[in-house]
């Protein structure tokens, strides 16, 4: 293994030596962010290679408007809110789900199946599943929506905020931050959408897109591949995670998602509205749509005062440049979502920053 580390490092150094400017690589996956920081990869990279963390942590990119809607539903006596653990501590304008959990109408689930089971077990309540996540997580939501429809479990609904990674990359390159030179693409999102999904980014923006797994060696080899492409003046899609990522992805998962969901315009923290970037339930499943059921609108919320998470998410500033970072905003008392989520860029900087 050490041979491969040395070889990757050598490729990176050789390629960077020949470059006349710094190149910026963005990873768009919270799990990559954590792995990069934990392993200390940044500390061994040459100055000419800069890594940025992009909008890849689902908790972090969720707009404040959605978070406040989620709190309103958790305040209703007739609702039971089921959420993955990541969302529980995110602050709304009035407390978090955690502060509401003591009242008994918020439950943490490990799977969408558990949320549907809660609906079966609590017929007197409407179970609202907080459906947050990128393409890896969406199929699990689609499966239970179909299951609920089949079984006629009418006291179940989902508040969908499932996001799509390609429109986010396009929004960045299309104006938010076009200084990004290449992307380290998310491994498990690619299991579902396939590495081929990134071809349009290469075609339209000529940026190398390299899919990598989550072990430090794979990330380092992914960066070496990006550097190799730069040195050779090419831009391609390449997967370093062939053990699980195919060109076409998981077709069965794509099919079930397409049956249930359709892309609509959606709000992202710090980026704003991105066309066709968020998944909403299709007409035939509308009765399981929490927005429709409770007459709610998915509209942007008021940003938290002083919080610079939006700029951090776009790679426009490092967390350390935010005046709240490490002073008023810490993992123990987070103000912004990038500090709340264990996969958030600010949390990673706080925890590992000193040695990176």
């Amino acid at each position: 293994m050490l041979d491969r580390v040395a070889q990757a490092q050598h490729t990176i150094e050789e390629a960077c030596r020949g470059l006349d400017r710094q190149i910026t690589v963005m990873e768009v996956c919270g799990t990559h962010t954590v792995s990069i920081f934990r392993s200390g990869i940044r500390s061994i990279l040459p100055d000419k290679l800069k890594l940025l963390s992009g909008p890849g942590c689902p908790v972090c990119v969720t707009d404040q408007g959605y978070i406040d809607t989620m709190m309103r539903l958790a305040d209703r006596a007739d609702c039971l809110v089921a959420t993955y653990g990541d969302m529980i501590r995110v602050p709304g304008s009035d407390g978090s789900l955690e502060t509401r959990a003591s009242r008994g109408n918020v439950k943490v689930v490990l799977s969408s199946e558990d949320a549907l089971q809660l609906a079966r077990d609590n017929p007197e309540k409407t179970v609202v599943f907080i459906a947050v996540g990128f393409e890896t997580t969406t199929p699990a939501t689609a499966v239970v929506v179909q299951e609920a429809a089949r079984e006629g479990i009418e006291n179940f609904c989902v508040l969908s905020n499932h996001k799509l990674v390609i429109p986010a990359i396009r929004a960045l390159l299309g104006g938010m931050n076009d200084r990004i030179d290449a992307f380290l693409c998310p491994g498990h999102v690619s299991v579902i959408i396939g590495s081929g999904a990134f071809r349009e980014i290469v075609r339209d923006y000529r940026r190398p897109c390299v899919v990598a797994g989550f072990e430090p060696l794979q990330i380092l080899e992914g960066l070496a591949e990006i550097c190799r492409q730069f040195a050779g003046g090419t831009a391609e899609v390449k997967s370093m995670y062939k053990a699980v990522v195919t060109e076409q992805g998981n077709i069965a998962a794509q099919r079930i998602v397409a049956e249930c969901f359709e892309p609509v315009d959606g709000y992202w923290r710090g980026i704003g509205k991105i066309a066709k970037s968020t998944l909403a339930l299709k007409e035939q499943y509308r009765r399981f749509d929490a927005f429709a059921r409770f007459g709610l609108e998915d509209k942007p919320g008021k940003e938290i005062r002083g919080c610079r998470c939006g700029e951090v998410l776009c790679g426009l500033m490092d967390p350390i440049e935010c005046p709240l970072f490490g002073t008023r905003c810490t993992p123990q008392k987070p103000i912004g979502p990038c500090m709340v989520s264990s996969e958030g860029t600010c949390a990673a900087w706080f925890k590992y920053g000193r040695r990176n």
């Binding site: 942590c57 990128f134 998981n250």
Partner: protein, 78 residues
């Protein structure tokens, strides 16, 4: 959030499976991986198998987990 772990299917009935990773067992569904068979090693995310994994790749991840666990206990003991 998009993290998935490799685990072996040790029971399978329809799309309902029990999976095992290093002795930890839990329920998962194979709805998204209709060709999954008993004994296959699969990546599991939020209760669903999303891809098959080859044995070697899975072993690397399990070894890494074991290493992290040992690091934790060493720290705790020492």
């Amino acid at each position: 959030m998009c993290l998935a772990v490799p685990a072996r299917i040790i029971e399978l009935e329809g799309d309902r499976a029990v999976v095992d990773a290093m002795g930890n067992r839990w329920k998962a569904k194979t709805t998204l991986l209709p060709d999954a068979k008993l004994g296959d090693v699969v990546l599991v995310h939020a209760g669903f198998a999303i891809s098959t994994v080859d044995e070697e790749e899975a072993k690397k991840t399990w070894e890494l987990f074991a290493e992290i666990e040992n690091m934790g206990s060493e720290k705790f003991d020492g």
